[in-house]
Amino acid sequence: MSNSRLNASAKNQGRVFTIPGQVVSLVVLVTPLLVALYMSFTDWSPTRSSLSGASFLGLENYQELLIYDNRFLQAVGRTALLAVICLSLEFVFGLALATLFLRTFRGQRFLFSAFLSPMMVLPVVVGYTFWMLFQSNGPVNQVLALIGVTSVEWFRDSSLAFLAVVVTEVWHWTPLFFLILLSGLNAVPENPIRAAVILGASPRQVFWKVVFPALRPVIIVAFVIRAMEVIKIFDEVFLLTRGGPGSATETISLYIYKLAFNDFQLAYGAAAAFLVLAGSLLMVHLLMIPVRDQLLDNRG
């Protein structure tokens, strides 16, 4: 990244460019996060005193969350389960669709745009639309009735509500996998494929031995990015099920939202958020290790 032709003073002058962004980030992002971090070690609540007057608890909030708060632990487990199911399905569907788009056919450009459109829909709108679709007199049940399944109450049954969330998420975000995997597949060099064919590899072997390994960094990028989003999932679930029935679809974000803005346990909610952040950072870091050389290479 350094350039010998730029002398040191030019570099220092140039560094001025990064200052506005840093100041803004510091004032509007870092400061609030530091406040929240401090808060997470206290018992502060807006219904009581000022922040400085709150008593310092140390790691008590974190201890409570990790050991005693079943609702939190369940939300974490549920979010993880949701992530695993959704990401697997999105990957399989996205890959299948991407391989179809490796073929050439008429209207390909139009269909490409059409398949990306779900991503462009606002999460709130997605939540609302699927809420309509899953109504007991809605079109999903109408179709199910055709195959003899009648009066399914999607939002009254825990597993069905969870399933509805999965369907919604998969519909909304499969296009992202499709887009990323397709650009990855198109970037796989052709000659190694030809070489493998000459050496006798079947289409299946070509895919698993040549294409897939070349695609691996791209797949990991797709998983990391989607995992980050699923961990935060809120809008769609909030409009679809509000976390119900009971807490059957309550994800981490929903739980933190309820803690902070329904129960006003701001300090406790902040502690939960930092736990989630630490967990996600660790996960992303571990996932990226095997491909980080490749990714940095690509960046040139």
Binding site: L199, G200, K209
Partner: protein, 362 residues
């Protein structure tokens, strides 16, 4: 033995024929270079021989049997790609073993072949290195080794040296020569670099616009180009070729536009028709031209270009529209100086209007 019979390749949507009725016989154990500018159909020809592309018409025989209907993997022909196409996510050993693993060869045998191949190509120390971390010439050797491991009888190489640095190129040239000698393989390779072709091949096949122009033993080809395209392609710099006609005004000469090229003859050259109605091509190699004095000059011109190559200098001489290249070692003429050129009479080539060699030496 490979026989290409009227081999033709047309791509849909392209008006130009990529490979046009190619007829070529390649002997067993021979190294032949397909030489030609890029886009002349060399790579399409290789792809058809190996089985990556189907010919539009014509046939390919190996030892008398047509292989056109046989899938690529069963032809026993190996291809090394210009960009190597090594499997970067595998180790060197994984690459070398690939073809055998696919064929479900017993593990022990694979191990033995991999070790042998690695040793042969000097890759033993790199066997467990991921191919991603190899240098250009190592990748090249892996690509060759991956093919050799499957024991092909014919090896095709697509521009094998063009992506290598100069030193690696020299080393790889030796490597390829050794490969040919020790394994007795039939090698067909494609290149646009004549030095490479001349140093390696038994025979050259020169292609242009999808057609085979001339096939000849390497030495003969240089000595006696049969076609004007060959003359204009081989040599560094290539032969000076002019189109014009012979006349006798003021002694025998070849007129190009408004310029006369005097000939070192007493009368008109044998076997050619004199007069502006009969067009010919006159060729003379830069290295056969020498600087001389005004009275002995066949061609007089002003120095309009000098390109030093270290050991010699390419001199451009111009008279009106006509330009000619000659080589000077010492003394080297100055810019804009008037210089005089001559050449012995046996160094002239005459091609007829269709580009066929008519006579060599006047």
């Amino acid at each position: 033995m490979i026989e290409l019979i009227d081999l033709t390749k047309e791509y849909p949507g392209s008006s130009q024929v990529a490979v046009d009725k190619l007829n070529l016989t390649i002997e067993k154990g021979e190294t032949i270079a397909l030489l030609g500018p890029s886009g002349c159909g060399k790579t399409s020809t290789l792809n058809m021989i190996v089985g990556l592309e189907k010919p539009s018409r014509g046939d390919i025989l190996v030892n008398g049997q047509s292989i056109v209907a046989i899938p690529a993997e069963k032809r026993g022909i190996g291809l090394v790609f210009q960009d190597y196409a090594v499997f970067t996510s595998m180790t060197v050993a994984g690459n070398l073993a690939f073809g055998l693993v696919i064929k479900k060869t017993p593990k022990k045998e694979i191990q033995a072949v991999v070790n042998e191949t690695a040793e042969f190509l000097g890759l033993t120390a790199k066997l467990n290195v991921k191919a991603r971390y190899l240098s250009g010439s190592e990748l090249q050797r892996v690509a060759i080794g991956r093919t050799l491991a499957t024991k092909p009888s014919i090896l095709l190489l697509d521009e094998p040296l063009s992506n290598l640095e100069p030193e690696a190129r020299l080393a790889m040239r030796q490597e390829l020569r050794r490969l040919r000698q020790e394994l007795g393989l039939t090698i067909v390779y494609v290149t646009h670099d004549q030095v490479e072709a001349l140093s390696l091949a038994d025979r050259l096949a020169i292609m242009s616009y999808g057609r085979l122009i001339q096939v000849e033993k390497t030495a003969v080809m240089l000595e006696k180009p049969q076609k004007i395209q060959v003359a204009q392609f081989l040599g560094d710099p290539p032969m000076n070729v002019f189109s014009g006609f012979f006349h006798l005004e003021g002694g025998p000469a070849f007129r190009v536009g408004a310029v006369d090229f005097r000939l070192p003859l007493a009368s008109a050259p044998a076997g050619v028709k004199v007069g502006s109605a009969n067009y010919y091509y006159l060729g003379v190699r830069p290295e056969d031209l020498s600087f001389t004095t005004q009275d002995k000059a066949l061609f007089t011109g002003q120095v309009t270009g000098l390109e030093s190559r270290g050991y010699d200098c390419v001199v451009n001489l111009s008279q009106k529209d006509l330009e000619i290249k000659a080589l000077a070692i010492d003394p080297i003429p100055d810019w804009d100086e008037t210089a005089y050129l001559s050449a012995p009479k046996d160094k002239f080539f005459v091609f007829d209007g269709s580009g066929e060699l008519l006579t060599m030496g006047l």
